[in-house]
Symmetry: C2
Subunit: 682 residues, 2 copies
């Protein structure tokens, strides 16, 4: 099928969805998704048109096809299910369906054999009684011949037994035409229609461009992250190791987390090393920031000796795998002044007029422990290759998920190239973008390949803020390329609401993250132990931040939030509607401190109500759009709270809610089965 | 500037507006318009970016440039004014502005010379007092050298005196750096900034694609059409001629119409000619339908002898021109069976199996007087050429506006090719699309080049319908490519509301058309003489339609609506806000039968209130968004009714309205000058 200009390609194809920036970037989907493609397909005049959807994995040359059907107002839809990971392509085709036009016209002629002439047709100057008689004597035989010719034409493009069958039908129609009957029955059987439908008349087919879809594995859409610093896992005052991490992992996995994310594990720079609480001078025993990467032991492809060696790493990866979780590594493309690249490739950095290397700065602030890479290096190709090699190195050691540090300070074209190149060979690899910056920049990174992204959730507290933000994220075009990952905290961000130190705040934010977003994560030990002291007033930095020192976490503390996190993960695992965001719907309440939302599948409804007031009990009435979530409004329904196991019998949209800060939410599983039984009894 | 891949092109350009279908089709504008282009322009990291707009007429090789400025949230805007008709192109460029980044950083360093060290900068591990002292001793000289190097680099790409000047500034900075002063003043003058701004550092510039704009003359946006059948202009019972048309034109022009639109003037087919009221058998003296084109006297490039000859035509065009109006011809690409093409080019039609040519039909209805052209003809190229020749033929005779009959029954690719080819040589030629069909099809034709389009206005009667439809038309993306032309009636359509025969209905619909849409038209004699009899109940066909017979119109009748039309045209000519649709705004009233809307410029406000009830007086209160139209809400304002010359003193948003069917509307010109005087007095 060539695309050279032929004025006879009369069908227009436009408004194709889903596309990101008109097809410039791939839409994101998961293996097994039902990919719905719509397009406006129309032609001139009154001829019928038809459309179909072509799709293929990029490794497969041959297109598969799926029929498209008319939905409404010239918009057509078709579906396909990508059955493996990777880059897929789809295309829409449309053509004038002469056969369909023909048999519809033939049927009208055939019915006109019986019908009397209406005034209406007389008025239009079209028909007389004599003309009606003509239908069978002349027009129908002519139409049959037209059909025969058309089938014959179609047959010339067809191979195999269908070609013979098409010719046979053509002959049969010709034969009928010759009989010049007084009255004709309809010769176009469903079998004939099916025969032509599978051999469409594509002589003048119009084709859209080919558009990309990035198909990931399930974890891209549904994941529960737990972050910790291995160096804090040792017995008190001893440096923790990857061995300690391997020991901790099974318990984290048992609590339902499936991604263990470690801050950078590389050798930490010594030159201008930061001390505790980010002070500029380090004491001799200060461990430094893991994000100041590189010293005499190596850089991005080495492990800090104090954490262990590669065999420890491999064992940790194995334990994780056996526990059903994955290790996510933090990739931070920046160097400490003693990183090996500084000597081997000074041209990858910005050189100042005095020959020194430019450190990071925001004048007058200086970050002399960090050398940024210069993406305008004349040697940018080699730099790109080496950064690509970093990912490849860890992929070979079994890492399939990367949390990328500040990707918005590296060139956009690099990410697009690097991620595509990696995923071409390793489509299972996932990238989380740690960019807390302006919307265009965050979305721009997601478009260029990041599988998941950190979000503004960390600072969205009010009902209006949460509803507005989630609505933006689940709406087109954002939902097509941006997968949010909701974090209530990170080592960099202790948001104001958590600085209250209130358990209600920590519980509330975890519940919101875990139920609003199918991907969520926490910086775990600090979170479950309600760490809330900022470095100083109005700062979001933790006091005694683990970024600059080892901490000892007593995870066995009675007040730990860990059991709640486990409950949340159980709910997420048992209810597939919580594993995606597309069914999210907000419901009204009469209290601005009570947010209410649902996620649902056909068979499963989860309804969440959260008290956003961390200090006070709040009560009010819901107004649930029951019909929209498939709950009958004229029968009681049973709500089981997945947090407390309490069961409530509710009826209709309006129900009373009272939530105190001790347990600031209901996560209701609505059981409709009793409703169905009721119905059966009625 | 080549576009080969360079990873150092770090700036992203996206969300460019205005575009139609991502740039697939041109946006439409008028000569002298201020074309506003916006785009998201952003880069990685903290470097400053800059953007500019490039634009050119397609006949001009060199791009002109306009600066872009940051509006909000990474969106930038720039403007240009196309100063001639034709196809224009624009492009957006973005780049990292190293100079801008540099001098902002330098300014911060310079201010740090004075300032004490804050706790904040201490905390961030960035600065000590000693470091501050460093600023002048070391950092500032280094920064000055960095700037010198940058200016030197920029100079290498620059020609002329600016290059020397850039080098001079570089030398001066270097000189300063060598002085290693205790304290530095800011050396970056506005002159230096301006020098670099006009010589931007485009080494790694990112460029968008080039996007098209179709620039038309003013009449594409603002026109008042009057349609009549020349053959009805004769003395009673005599066939009217183009000479009669030429006599009528000055009076139509005097009433403010500027486009005189004539149904086809070609020879009318004799075979299967339709009789009066569209009957299938014509009497010998029946004149036939002008849309059944072609007989032994010729086809689309001939004039029906009964109307006159080419000299009559030329005289008519000349009279029109002298009267300040234009002739619009109707181009209907279909043939009567005796059209010359039927014999010379049977391959341009669909041949049936019996060798006969396929006439138009919608089984069982037959339209044997019309042969459609076959756009799937093997000879489609020659067919396209000949159709193009038809337009060219009449353009050479002075016709610059065409009303195209049923363009949606001819192939879309043909229109795109034909209109572009004509407008390439004759950008002044305008095309009105007469497609009353589904939205995608109507919009699809507009995208492919039609300058104006008939609309659904003819059937939009209620307040909600009118507000919804106008809102769609003036919103993106429709407003970028679709220019509505509002017709209350056509020879094909006598809508139900006019079948009431009520003068109030005719007045109301003309007022709505002329004030809602900058382009409007009427099928004149039938309209101004309140012709209202349908062919039969529920039909929109006129009884005794002029399409099939000559009519005599007594345009001097006392009850003629012509004086109202003249008033409407005067209002449209005197108030430029009525000459475009973009300022249209609807205002609330408390009566669903009263619609209220404004069009305004900075200096001119027109407020229209129409009683949509054709039978009864309606009254109610307005709720006008005064601030939005620039009227002070705390001072009285004077409303002069352009229909009655009555003057009303109004105050605030709520004012009482009472409209009886005899004069069912106010068209208020709001005079704010007294408000200003008031203000001066206060």
């Amino acid at each position: 099928m060539t695309k050279e200009f032929d004025g006879r390609r009369r069908v227009v194809i436009e408004e194709i969805k889903p596309l990101v920036d008109g097809g410039r970037f791939p839409v994101k989907r998961i293996v097994g998704d039902d990919v719905r493609v719509t397009a406006a397909i129309f032609g001139d005049g009154h001829d019928h048109v038809a459309g179909r959807l072509l799709y293929r994995h990029e490794d497969v040359d041959r297109w598969s096809t799926a029929p498209m059907r008319h939905v409404n107002n010239d918009v057509w839809e078709g579906y396909f299910i990508p059955d493996r990971m990777g880059r897929w392509l789809f295309r829409v085709e449309g053509w004038v369906d002469h056969f369909d036009t023909w048999w519809h016209q033939l049927e009208k002629r055939l019915s006109a054999q019986q019908s009397s002439v209406s005034d209406d047709s007389l008025e239009s100057g079209a028909l007389t009684r004599a003309a009606t008689m003509d239908e069978s004597r002349k027009e129908i035989p002519l139409a049959l011949l037209t059909g025969a010719n058309l089938l014959h034409t179609i047959a010339t493009e067809v191979k195999g037994s269908d070609a013979a069958e098409l010719r046979a039908v053509a002959t049969q129609l010709r034969h009928l035409a010759e009989q010049k009957r007084e009255h004709y029955e309809n010769p176009v059987t469903d079998a004939i229609k099916a025969l032509v439908e599978r051999n469409p008349d594509l002589r003048y087919v119009s084709q859209s461009d080919d558009f990309p879809i990035r198909v990931d594995r399930e974890r891209a859409r549904f994941s529960s992250w737990y972050e910790f610093f291995p160096r804090s896992l040792g017995p008190e005052d001893q440096h923790g190791t990857l061995k300690d991490a391997a020991e901790l992992i099974p318990s984290i996995a048992k609590a339902g987390f499936d991604v263990i994310y470690l801050p950078p594990i590389h050798p930490i720079g010594r030159v201008f090393r930061k001390g505790k609480n980010n002070t500029v001078t380090a004491e001799p025993d200060d461990v430094g920031s893991p994000w100041a990467i590189g010293n005499e032991h190596g850089g991005h492809m080495s492990i800090a000796p104090e954490l262990g060696g590669f065999s420890d790493f491999d064992k940790m990866v194995k334990v994780a795998s056996q526990s059903g979780v994955e290790i996510a590594l933090d990739i931070a493309f920046q160097c400490s002044p003693d990183h090996p690249w500084v000597r081997s490739h000074p041209e990858w950095f910005l050189i100042r007029p005095d020959g020194s290397i430019q450190y990071a700065e925001n004048p007058p602030k200086k970050y002399q422990d960090i050398y940024p890479l210069n993406f305008e290096s004349t040697d940018w190709r080699a730099l790109w290759e080496e950064l690509f090699n970093v990912f490849s190195f860890w992929i070979k050691r079994g890492v399939k998920i990367f949390r990328v540090d500040n990707p918005h300070t590296k060139a956009f074209p690099f990410w697009e190239w690097c991620i595509a190149r990696i995923k071409h060979v390793h489509p299972e690899v996932l990238f989380l973008s740690e960019a807390f910056t302006r919307p265009h920049v965050m979305y721009g990174l997601a478009k260029r390949g990041f599988s998941q992204s950190y979000t503004y959730f960390t600072w969205r507290n009010t009902k209006q803020e949460l509803e507005d933000y989630m609505t933006e994220l689940i709406s087109e075009p954002v939902c097509e390329f941006f997968r949010p990952n909701f974090w209530p905290n990170t080592p960099d961000i202790l948001p104001a609401i958590l600085q209250t130190g209130l358990r209600s705040a920590f519980a509330q934010r975890a519940i919101l993250a875990a139920t609003l977003s199918a991907n969520y994560g926490i910086y775990g030990p600090a979170y479950e132990l309600l760490e809330y002291q900022p470095l100083r007033e109005k700062s979001e930095e933790y006091a005694s931040s683990e970024k600059y020192e080892m901490r000892f976490w007593d995870r066995s503390r009675e007040d730990s939030l860990f059991p709640l996190l486990q409950l949340l993960n159980e709910a997420r695992q048992s209810h597939s509607c919580l594993q995606r965001n597309d069914s999210l719907r907000f419901h009204s309440t009469d209290n601005p401190q009570l947010i209410c939302y649902s996620k649902s599948t056909k068979s499963d409804v989860i309804l969440v109500i959260v008290n956003l007031d961390v200090n006070n009990t709040q009560s009010g009435w819901t107004d649930i759009q029951l019909q929209a979530i498939g709950v009958a409004s004229d029968r009681p329904y049973s709500c089981k709270d997945l947090l407390t196991s309490a069961i409530y019998e509710w009826y209709g949209p309006r129900n009373y809610i009272r939530l105190d800060p001790n347990m600031p939410a209901h996560i209701f599983h609505i059981d409709c089965s009793e409703q169905v039984q009721d119905e059966a009894r009625v």
